[in-house]
Amino acid sequence: MKVLVAVKRVVDFNVKVRVKADNSGVDLSNVKMALNPFCEIAVEEAVRLKEQGVASEVVVVCVGAGAAQEQLRTALALGADRAVLVESADELGSLAVAKLLKAVVDKEQPQLVILGKQAIDSDNNQTGQMLAALSGFAQGTFASKVEVAGDKINVTREIDGGLQTVALNLPAVVTTDLRLNEPRYASLPNIMKAKKKPLETLTPQALGVSTASTVTTLKVEAPATRSAGIKVKSVAELVEKLKNEAKVIQ
């Protein structure tokens, strides 16, 4: 079974991001970038499936600028067999990415697509679901356990009420949650091997996908800094403040 893993290049989780002075976005100049942590978990799951003999090939795909090759090489060093970069310098939203991934799915014909449930920069939690809808695949999101059983895949999902296990027909889309696995370290021999694994570059035009956005970002600003708490002298005062200042009750 061929497994396709989609990954994203994001700001490293350690970085304290700053908003640009003109409020047009986040300042990314000279900032350390990394493989999205949920995507790392997705790669790990695919590589484990290969080690179990369930997956025959793991292909990793990334939609992003040329520099995203770094993250693809990392994924190759973690055990993926082949990498595809869909090169686009534009900042693309979930729907555009999902459309591009659909085109790659049509080309690669995987039985299973694994994605991180969300990226730590945009926090949308949409791409996997949109891809499933566009390609008509079954979907199992926020997976904390994945088990292939013949031509079905059992996915245990972490939902608000607890754990839910669904059985999906293949082909399917799975998005990973934190507790699915602990990604391995990229060992030195694997880093060396990754250099020789194939990495091909495609463009949205070549895939026949329009990435024109229906959404424009108007403003990006930092969240308000937390101000000091206040002590109130009575319940009546508390209720008055909740009603008139915080405006959370009527």
Partner: protein, 380 residues
């Protein structure tokens, strides 16, 4: 100059950084420090499994063929985590000596094991009277039938307490501080006549005094030619110095980060103390020293692989001096800016401080390197 890392170097750095971040928290380090070995066998084994102890060795020995810069990336992260494992002494110093002086047979037998961390080595090159002079060797090697007998006292052998083999410099000819006549032997610490007195050093790294009383060493345990080891000792110590500079810079970076966080958090006199201009000046001074040290560590990393020369020796002496001076300045300032807790055992900063002070007394102190630099300046 191009300071951009290759993809492989970036991945190497990321792997070590993550390994240290996840496996070497302060509490974990304290438990390793208190153990008998003085470091974590599990962490050491993991360094081996991930190929990190193979970085400087040739591909024939399972290595990465890495140079000074690759070593710098690894040491930087190990320094940041204050890792206690004998990477520097086993992989860089001893491994380098083995690669430079070893016969094909010795290398085949030992290097692969060193590269995979299955064999941990130590180097016994200092003596109580040697005061950083590699050529001041009074431990004697007497030629006997089938080999040599070694007698003498080697001091502060880092990692010697757990080493599978110790590389010992002993005098087979000449006297006093003659450069000629120094030989290097592979000594089994379990051999008859070998005594080890183990102790923790100031920053928690364990070392031992090595006492040799007529220890027999077979001919095939001589590294290189008899009496001709000095050049290699000096060259490999140079690589170790470059690696140690990188380690110190990692520790300094962490000390600066801790201090900056503290200045922004600690409130006194109604505001975060970091808002006081004088403290800002001191923080900036720390960062200036750190930047200079970082540059010198990079210069040292590039010089480490160059052919042996006076220029290389001069560069490494300069780097060691600048880096350790910066290290002491940064840790002293950091302690001051933290106030009382900067000195306490329970807070990681004091451990960085002790480590940086220890480093300024290894492979030569300030005076030693300034004198070496001055002497080499006259030659140039």
């Amino acid at each position: 100059m191009d300071f951009k890392l290759t993809e492989e170097q970036q991945m190497l750095q990321d792997t070590v950084a993550r390994l240290v971040r996840e496996g070497y928290g302060f509490e974990q380090r304290e438990s390793f420090r208190a153990s008998e070995a003085g470091f974590s066998h599990a962490f050491w084994a993991q360094l081996g499994e991930l190929g990190l102890t193979a970085v400087p060795f040739g591909e024939a020995f399972g290595g990465f063929g890495g140079g000074g810069v690759d070593t710098m990336l690894v040491m930087n992260e190990l320094g940041r985590g204050l890792c206690l494992e004998p990477y520097l002494h086993s992989v860089i110093f001893a491994g380098g000596l083995l690669e430079q002086l070893g016969s094909d047979q010795q290398k085949d037998q030992l290097l692969t094991q060193v590269a995979s961390a299955q064999l941990q080595l130590a180097v016994a090159f200092e003596e109580p009277q040697s005061h950083y002079h590699l050529n001041d060797v009074q431990t004697r090697a007497q030629a006997v039938d089938g080999g040599w007998t070694l007698s003498g006292h080697k001091a502060v052998v880092i990692g010697g307490q757990t080493a599978g083999l110790i590389l010992v410099s002993a005098r087979s000819a000449g006297g006093g501080r003659d450069e000629d006549g120094i030989s290097l032997f592979l000594v089994d610490p379990q051999a008859a006549g070998v005594t080890r007195r183990v102790y923790p050093t100031i920053d928690g790294v364990k070392a031992c005094e090595l006492l040799l009383d007529g220890v027999f060493v077979a001919n095939d345990k001589l590294l290189g030619q008899a009496g001709k080891a000095f050049g290699a000792l000096r060259y490999q110590q140079g690589r170790a110095i470059a690696a140690q500079c990188a380690q110190a810079v990692g520790s300094m970076e962490e000390a600066c980060t801790l201090t900056l966080d503290y200045l922004k958090t600690r409130k006194q006199f109604g505001q975060p103390i970091g808002s006081f201009q004088v403290l800002q000046h001191r923080m900036v001074d720390m960062r200036s020293e750190l930047d200079q040290a970082t540059s010198m560590a990079m210069l040292a990393a590039c010089a480490a692989d160059q052919a042996d020369s006076d220029e290389r020796s001069r560069t490494l002496a300069a780097a060691k001096y600048v880096v350790t001076r910066a290290g002491r300045f940064i840790c002293e300032q950091a302690i001051q800016l933290h106030g009382g807790i900067g000195l306490t055992q329970e807070y990681v900063l004091s451990h960085h401080a002790k480590h940086l002070v220890m480093i300024s007394h290894q492979f030569g102190d300030d005076d030693h390197h300034l004198q070496a630099y001055a002497r080499l300046l006259q030659v140039a």
